[in-house]
Structures are given as C-alpha cells and as structure tokens.
Assembly symmetry: D2
Homo-oligomer: 360 residues x 4
Amino acid sequence: MSGNGFGHLFRFTTWGESHGAAIGAVVDGVPPRLKLTEADIQPWLDRRRPGQSRFTTQRQEKDRVEILSGTFEGLTTGTPVSLLIRNEDQRSRDYGEIRDKYRPGHADIAYDMKYGIRDYRGGGRSSARETACRVAAGAVARKILGDGVRIRGSLVRMGADRIDPAAFDDAEIDGNPFFCADAAAAARWEDLLGRVRKAGSSVGAVVEVRASGVPPGLGAPAYDRLDADLAKAMMGINAVKGVEIGDGFAAAALSGEANADEIRMENGRPRFLSNHAGGVLGGISTGQDLVVRFAVKPTSSILTPRRTITRSGEETEIRTRGRHDPCVGIRAVPVGEAMMACVLADHLLRHRGIDSARGG
Amino acid sequence: MSGNGFGHLFRFTTWGESHGAAIGAVVDGVPPRLKLTEADIQPWLDRRRPGQSRFTTQRQEKDRVEILSGTFEGLTTGTPVSLLIRNEDQRSRDYGEIRDKYRPGHADIAYDMKYGIRDYRGGGRSSARETACRVAAGAVARKILGDGVRIRGSLVRMGADRIDPAAFDDAEIDGNPFFCADAAAAARWEDLLGRVRKAGSSVGAVVEVRASGVPPGLGAPAYDRLDADLAKAMMGINAVKGVEIGDGFAAAALSGEANADEIRMENGRPRFLSNHAGGVLGGISTGQDLVVRFAVKPTSSILTPRRTITRSGEETEIRTRGRHDPCVGIRAVPVGEAMMACVLADHLLRHRGIDSARGG
Amino acid sequence: MSGNGFGHLFRFTTWGESHGAAIGAVVDGVPPRLKLTEADIQPWLDRRRPGQSRFTTQRQEKDRVEILSGTFEGLTTGTPVSLLIRNEDQRSRDYGEIRDKYRPGHADIAYDMKYGIRDYRGGGRSSARETACRVAAGAVARKILGDGVRIRGSLVRMGADRIDPAAFDDAEIDGNPFFCADAAAAARWEDLLGRVRKAGSSVGAVVEVRASGVPPGLGAPAYDRLDADLAKAMMGINAVKGVEIGDGFAAAALSGEANADEIRMENGRPRFLSNHAGGVLGGISTGQDLVVRFAVKPTSSILTPRRTITRSGEETEIRTRGRHDPCVGIRAVPVGEAMMACVLADHLLRHRGIDSARGG
Amino acid sequence: MSGNGFGHLFRFTTWGESHGAAIGAVVDGVPPRLKLTEADIQPWLDRRRPGQSRFTTQRQEKDRVEILSGTFEGLTTGTPVSLLIRNEDQRSRDYGEIRDKYRPGHADIAYDMKYGIRDYRGGGRSSARETACRVAAGAVARKILGDGVRIRGSLVRMGADRIDPAAFDDAEIDGNPFFCADAAAAARWEDLLGRVRKAGSSVGAVVEVRASGVPPGLGAPAYDRLDADLAKAMMGINAVKGVEIGDGFAAAALSGEANADEIRMENGRPRFLSNHAGGVLGGISTGQDLVVRFAVKPTSSILTPRRTITRSGEETEIRTRGRHDPCVGIRAVPVGEAMMACVLADHLLRHRGIDSARGG
C-alpha cells in the first residue's frame, strides 16, 4: 500500500488501524518556534470524538493526543511532530457474519480484491478512525496559518433536508449535535436522525467548510491548483462522493453574466461584489472566503438485510449489527476543516518558497 | 510557480503559453516497448481542437503533435516522451481594454496578485490551450492501459438542460458538436447555444466520463485514493467547479439501504446489482464502470459590460470581445477523458509496483 | 524542517529526538502478506546498539522495537508499519559548557543558524540516535528483497590503517567489536582504538557495504540512478563525508583498458571477469555484487580543548565530556547496510511498477 | 523508465536522446520576474560544448539553446521554462561492431537487461549529451541564486596526476582546455592526454566544484541534507564513481582534534579557522565555501580490443572507433557546476518556504 502521506512541503503521514494499539501521524515540514502543545490539538479531536451524542457511534474513545517529538518547552523545534492516539475501546465482540461476508456499499470487498486481506475487525485503513489523525495534523497546520485564518465547517444538508442559507448563524454551529448553523434545521434533523437510528438505517449528508482571512495568491494555475488540492483532500475523506467549490454544480446552470463576480475598490483594495467563485480563480486564492462543500454517502452498516457474497464466493445475505453512526457526515465536519487547514498551510509554505521570491 | 507536473510513477509535465511559439508535455514513467507514434495521439487532439463548429472558438490551430523523443522505430524506448504542439494562430490583435482591466470571473486578477504579472495576451498557464498537452499525455496513458480499458466522455448537461439518461446512446456522442449521447438533447442544445452565442453570452455544463474494463484493485485507502486522485485531476481542469463519483451529491439524499450495491456471483466472479458507488469503494476500484462527473462554469468572456477595476485600481467596466467558446464545457470532454486515462495509468503502475507483489 | 522521509515507493519517515520519550519510523509502501514480526527487526537493531563494548558510547539503550501497526497475525497487511523505540537512558546530566558553546566540527552551530534553536541536550535530529530508525526500516526493506539478496557491511579502514583485502573473511566480521573482516587488522585496531579512547580523542573510518544477489535492471539512467540514490543514502548518514561505488576515486587513475570489466558467457548468462564498476553501469544494476564505501569523519566530541564561540558571540574554548564513541564509524556499519536495503527495495518496487511492464 | 526529473521545489525534467531531433529541459519552480534570456544560458553551454579542442570529442554541435516558454519581455513569468537544444551532428555512420556487441565498462548491457532495448546509436538516456540539459537548467538556477553566489569547477586530477593545491589559481581555469587551475599541471596534462588520445586509450579524472557566498542554513539534518543532495546530484552525472565533501575520504584518517574547524569571531560574525567540513555541518550549510569533489572513470570507448559478448550471447572481442573524449572528466566540469547550482537553488526555495517562516 502506498499513499499514506499528504502534502508537499507541509506533509503528514498517518498510520494505524482501528483495532490496533494506537493510531498516529507524523507531521513533517513544520516551521520552528511555533507555539504548540497538546492543548492546541485536543479541542479539535474532542469535536470529532465519537460517543458524544446518541447520533454517533457509541464506541468510547477518549482520543487523547500525545506529542512524542518535535516540540521543546512549548515551541516547535522544526523537527517532525509525532502524534499518538491510543485505541482504548477495542472490546472483544462477535464479528459474526461480517467476518466472512462482504458488506454492500463498504470498502471491504475492494480492499480484499487488492490486498488479499480481510481485516473484518474494523476496516483496516478504510476505517473512519483514521480521520482522527487528520484532525490532529490539521491542528498543527492551523498554527502555521495563524489566527488570521478562520476555518469553520458545518452540516448544510442531512438526507434530502437542506438548511435555509438565510438562517445561517455561525454561533449556532456548536449548539447542536449536528454542527448545524440553522437552528430550525437542527430541530428537524433531531427528529429525522432519531427515526433513522431506530430503524437501523443510515442517511447521507452535505458538509460545507469555509475559510476566511485566506491570503490571496495561494495555489498555482496548472495541476497543483488550490481547488484541485482541496478536491483531493475532501474526496479523500471516507464516504465522500462529491466535492464542489463556490457555486459548484450550480455554476453549470449559470450564464457568464450571472457567474461573474464583479469588482469594485474598497479602502484601496479590490472587493468582489459576489462570491460565485468560492474564493478561487484559476486555481489561486483571491482573498475572498474559501467555500468548499462535499457530499457524504450513508454508511453501509445497516440492519436491513442486503444480498451479498462470502469470501469464498457463496451467495448470502447480511445485516450489520454494532456501534455505528447513522449519519457519518456529522463527524466528517471537523475532518473537512482539518483537511482544509492542511491544504492551506502547505500552499502557504510553497508560495513563500517560490513565488514570494519574485525578482525586482 | 510550481505544480506543472501531474502523477507519481506515470508523470507528465507541461509547459507553454497560448501566445508563445509552442506548448508541450514531457511524459516520464513510460514502460518500454509500447507501440506509439504520432498517429496514436493526433486523433485525440483533433477531438479537442478548436474551430470545428460554430460553437467553439474560431481560433484556428491544427494542433499537430510531434514526438521529439522517447520512441524508436514505432516503439517506446522507456525514455521520456517529449511532445510538441506549435502555436499557429497568434494573430496580432487589439487587446484593447482587457490589457489593463481584470475580467470578472477570470483568473487574471488572482494571477496578478500572486505573480505580479499581467499576461493579458492569453491567460498564461491559465489558458485553456494548455489542456491540449493533457490530451496528448492522455493518449500515451491509453497505450499503457491497453485496449481493454475504454474511456468515454460526454456532455450530460448544458446550462440547466440535462440529457435523458434513458436515451443515452454511446453511438450518438460523435454525431453532434456537443459530445452529447442523447440525440434529442443535442437538438435542443443546438438551439440553446446558438442563442447564447448570438447574445455574446456563455453557459456552463456538466461532463461525465466513464471507464469500462478497469481492473479491480487500483487505488489505495488513505490519501492516494483513486477517487481522490480523479477529483484532483478533474478539478484541475480550467473552469471546473465540482466533481462527483457515482451518485455523487445525490448520494447525500439516499438511505443506506438504497445506496448499497448488492452483490451476486456470476460466472464465478462477483457481480454488483447496481453502481451507486461509481466503481470505487474505499478509494479502490471494484471492476465496475468508473463514473465521474464534473461541472464547468460559463466562461467569463462575454459581451455584456461588467463592473471591474484596472490594474492601477480604478473602477471601470469591461466587455470581452474576441474568439471564445460560448460553452467551454464542450471542449472539456476530451480533456476529462485524458485526465482519467492518466490517473488510471499511474495507479496501474503503482499497483503493479507495490501491491501486486504480495507475499505467499 | 523538511526531508524526514526517504524513498519513493518504499518510503519511510522518521521522527524523534535523542532526549525525548521515543523515536520511531513509519514505513509506507510495504507490500501485503510478507512475514514480519519484531523478531525480524530486533537483531539488526541489536547490532547497532550502543554500550556493547568499551569502544562505543556507554549510553545504555535496549532499543526494543515495537510494531504499532501494519501487521496482523504475523503478516504485513500492506498498511503503514509504524515502529517505535523508547528512549530509556536520558540520565539527567550537567551539560555544563556545551549548553552555550558550539562544538567545532559539530552540527550545533549550523542547526542554530538555520532554526534559531539550540538543542544542547543531544543534537536534535542530528543525533546518531536517529539512525536506529533507519536500521528498523531497513529490516522491513530486507523482507521485500527476500533471502536471495544478501547485504553485508564491514569496517575496512580505521584512521589510516586499512584491512588487507586478501585477508577479507566474511565469517570474521561478527567476531570482533569493529565489524572487521580481517582478523589481523581487528587486533591492531583494538590497540589503536584503546589508545584513542584513553586520550579522549577520536578517529575516522571507512565502511564498505556489499550486496550480492541483486537482480540486474534496478535503477534508471538519468537522475534516479541506483548509484545516485545510494550516494544520497550513504552521504545522509551522520558524519559521512564521502561515498564511492566500485573502484570509486581509484577509478580516476585507471586507463580505459584497466577499467573495462570484460564479459564472457557462463551457463548461458553473462559473466563479468572483474568488478571495477561495483555492480552498477549507467545507473542500473548489472547483477554483479553491489559495492559501496563511505568515509566517516572522527566525532567532534573530544577532551582536548578547541577554540570556539558561545551562542552570544564570545570567544572561548571547549572540551566535550560525556559518553561518546571514539570511532563512530563502527556503529555506522549496520546503518549503511540498512540504507542499502531501503534503496534496493524502493528500486525493486519501481522497476516492477514501470519497466517490468514492457510491451511485447 | 522513471527518474528524469531532479529537485523538489526547483525541479527540472530532461528529455531527448543523442541521436534524435533535439534534447531539452523543462524547469518548474521558477520564481517570477527574474531576468532571463538565452544570453544568460548560452555561455554555460559553450563551456561544455564538444569539439573545442583536440582533447574532446570532435562531434560538432553548436548547442544553441532556445527558450520556448516561461519568459516575457526578458523576465521570467513564473511559468515553466522550456529549453530546447537541437541535435545537429547526427552523421550517418557505420556502427559496425558496436551494433550487436556490448562495450565492457559501458552502460549498454545494463540498459538492455532492464529495458530490452539496444539503442546502439548513442547510449539513449545514458549519453553524455543529456548533460547539456543539466547545464541549461543550472543557468536558470544561477538566476535564482543571484550574483552573490559564485560557483566554480575545475579539474584537480587527471589520471594519477594531481594539481598542486598551493598553485591553485582561479584565473588560470579558463586559460587551458582542461579547466585546470594549476598552470604547471595543465602543461603536463597536455602531454599526458596527447599520448592517451594517440593510443586510442582514455583516462579518468577528479573534478572539484566550489561555491562561495552560500548563505548559512541551507539543508536539513535528516535525509534531505545539503551534502546528501549534492552527493546524489554529482553521482548522477555520467561516469562518476565517487563523491566527497570537504576533506572527504581523507577525513577518515584524521583525529577529532585535526578535523575540528575552530571558530572565532570576526566583524561580529563567526569565522571558521579551517574548512575540513567543506561548508556543511549536519547537512546544513555554514556559510563557508562549499567544496565538493567527484571522481570520473575513464570512458569505455577505446581502441584496444576487449573481450565481450554479443546480444545473442556469443563470445567475441570489441574495439570502439569513433568520436570520443579521451578524458570525459573535462566536460564534466561545467556539469558539476550546474548540478551544484540546481541543488542550491532548490534548497534556497525550500528554506525560504519552511524554515525562514520561524515563529517569534
């Protein structure tokens, strides 16, 4: 297997399975002399942690992060920051029928086709648990970005039910178990997800991540575009099936007139009158808010029997019992925020390295 | 500027501006002894070539590709394949007002913010002309994939008008100037785009690319997922604002039951009863058809005046005259196909290098 | 800081400082289903471990390796192999004068110039302790190479005293504390190094690493040459100042006639009559023994006072007391072996990925 | 084949065979707004050009470089700089016996083992002609480094005959056909090489490259050390068999006392009293002169018959007629300079990106 690292100058590599002793991340490309302690990382992990409401898996993990290297007296030394999170709740359980049966909609069959391995215990590297490492790495990235860059994710749709954009209230996001910025929608979702959970079913969602204070000029116009790297980052999160920037798929229906973000001057600086572009033009940030959305499919772990086959090729049915999230999109919110932080930190260092070095 | 290369083992690097002498690509990571001549590449370039109907820019470019290195007696030698395409139609023109004014919705302002350079002649590396190099590199990638993998793109939506999936006819795609698989839709679009063009306006689109015959097992479960690399590839095409795999954003509205692709056996091999996943589970190909869609925004080059500023910060208006595509999504179809070929070739080599080497 | 990873397909990333809680390596690009347990790694670490004779530092470290991820039931799963080695002997000591004074010949001044950090405790990432991680990663690489590839390092020179090549006896290498293949030289070195140690001085050395059973065809002719990657690998070991392949610098004095390794047939395969090339031609392995040598400078930790400056720019003198190796070249032997294993494993995977895929 | 690119942020990719239409390099990672025209590159190519004295191959190549992209009105735009050099002297010749016979000491047998291809015309990518591209890329790198960094190579040994270091005169280097800084040695070499040439033989050499004005702090302490990257760069030049930094292999014979570069203050800055380290400590530049030497083996193209085999496995003999360099080390001098420039430019951008960003 390859591809367990992400980024170019700011680069992290993650390891660990959900049912091993621990998981972790090694973050390379950290500038020296940044303030960093566990207390800078833990709050972000706490937001992603399972078991906090009845709407996420009841697996109990404290997700305590330990910094094993890369800091001295509360400052980064520039050396790799090694982050460790122990797995605590690996309760012995009866894997029963999932041991030999593939789950329709789950990665297990593809994984087995590729590696010849059936890690029935928890999905191996496909486990959502791996995303805790992304959140930890994202916390380091935020230190590079500094306080001027603010990254905020929320759930804007659960199943077919969307929030009302006019009701979007940033202060509401942490006031409900869904990271929902629309109080009325949150109330509806509580009901919706309660029913889904009781039915042993699951539902998809759409997450939106916004970053404000992003300096203009991050990115590049060919392949390492800021939007392309964000697309890779978000599509690389478990269960994500779509990514869009700014107006995204809706832009396909627009005319050129409607799509053009007109420009005026304000306090001596360009000001865009709208943000259809979502903060990126030609792969480069414009200084407007960066707006990314991604679609999360419903988890494949459901109680209703589905037709499937066994490893040995016999046709059968499967029901998945166990501790699962009825809407995995909820816990994808902090993960999306973290991935955006990592992409921005990487592009900030790249920009500083090459393009800020412009001649006279 | 960095990031002018794409891929890991199969890796190409492109260069050139739309108004220089030539553009080109250097393809590294090509296995030796594959059949390759210009005749294997030219047909794909011809599909992307401008000036073929009244619905694409009237810029006249033959887009003749020359292989400068990497082949001997019709076979690849394994050395880098250097591909050259001369720019022919660089007519001296009056850049007039676009010389100093930013075009709303265009990359020129972001480019200038980053590089301190105003290449008013044609967008520098942001020019759609660069995508000819991607198509050429894609033709080399197809030789690695072999005839068993078939990649086919089409336009599935123009503006707000979608094709009827039930009317999808592969044979229709090359029968109209829109790469449209639905004859009725193509007829409607002819009318629609004619009006858009006459109005000096533009319209967005959605492109779908399908690959059949993809071997199972390509990709990896963490960051270099097949879907994540496809997302980067497609979002990295000019004017693309969204990418989705399989059901994509529609998956957010599904229940786990509806989203599960059930599995049966057929001729001793697993057969999926549906393809909501779009051929990828956990970042790894399943052997089903790979289905990717991307949204293309309308071009910013329109005749209607828009408010903007000049380089020196004065408020003004702009109208863009010149030879432009009223629907840039059309010519993005062969580009999307090429990028899919490149991603698949790269993952095929990676899979062969690491994971096909499995022990006992 | 960047650059804490090594390799392309087989890629490991190391972390940790000599005076933190632990050090470690994350190995990515491991094929699935290889046999791997701690018992496959520990013996190589034991060879590098300090405190085994009076000729190496008396720091007491057990260097027990723990596999935190990437294996299941004794087989690799393909997922990243995370290796942890705890630091045990971090005795509180009086850093005294080295706290503020730079050691002539030591990296501390360059490190401080770059990072603005003075990690007087143990050299930060410049510490020789980091090389334990390379040895651990090398043990994983050996599993990829299989038993057919045999890698063996030895000390061929201590100070000005060289071994007699005619007396080279592989079986002798583990019979003395110097990894010396010439029993007579080992006896002389025992005397020599005893005197150096008592004088509080230090001495340089030359290490030779040989690999037999290397398949022909590893490497590439341009930049990622097998010899170039070996040069980077060996020059990247602490205190190394020179690297050579085959005849190395002596080749400069040869005529073309003398340097040519003539070729005959033997059992239907090419056989070279000599090995001036050291197993590499044009950056590609030939199937002959791979022969690499590297020069290790004497450690800068010596008792004789040397003129230096303090961090604040005052002129002064320094003597380094403490637990140090009088000849750091000795412990570089297992490190050189490990780096060769990693380079070979990486090139084996790359070759398999791209070039073994040659067309008909 | 892979590995035709070099560098991380400043990264160039080369292509082309000696007997094709042209060779070239694409340079990515170039900061915008640097002055660059062909006149900045051509002089460096002229120094490497063959046919300038009777001591280099009589192949006649003008080596005229063309910039195909990346500049506008004499300034870099930041976009990739594509450099083209046409092959002119591809005279039709009788390859005679080298068509089917391997040349002992030449890469042709290894190349064929790997790729299954026999490019008897000129060595494919193993040809020394490829190094012209490195020289061109190096000229771009010098623009990034600026005039403050001065890089100067010379031949310090031909065969067994070394220069007298005390007689080293920088002004002498361009006054003889050997890039020799010692006039007396140059006179001896004229005689020596005349005899070698007449005998149809060849001889090895040692090249030294020095850089002054290198800022302290370039490099990193683990794998991407400045010295490790220089070792890869130099060992990657055709026919190179050894690389050393500072005292190099001689350091193995030194005591710690002799090897320590003592430090004093001068004008408020550290001054080293000697330079055994060659300007690098712990992989990081110290601000002292960077001193690298590499050994070049004698070319395998000689008139004396050598025993070899044919492609089909028959034992035979071979003599190589044709236009060859009796001492390929001479033309390696500008190549070594160029590679040092590329390594320094890359590390300068990396340092600026990550480590210069240090917190408060």
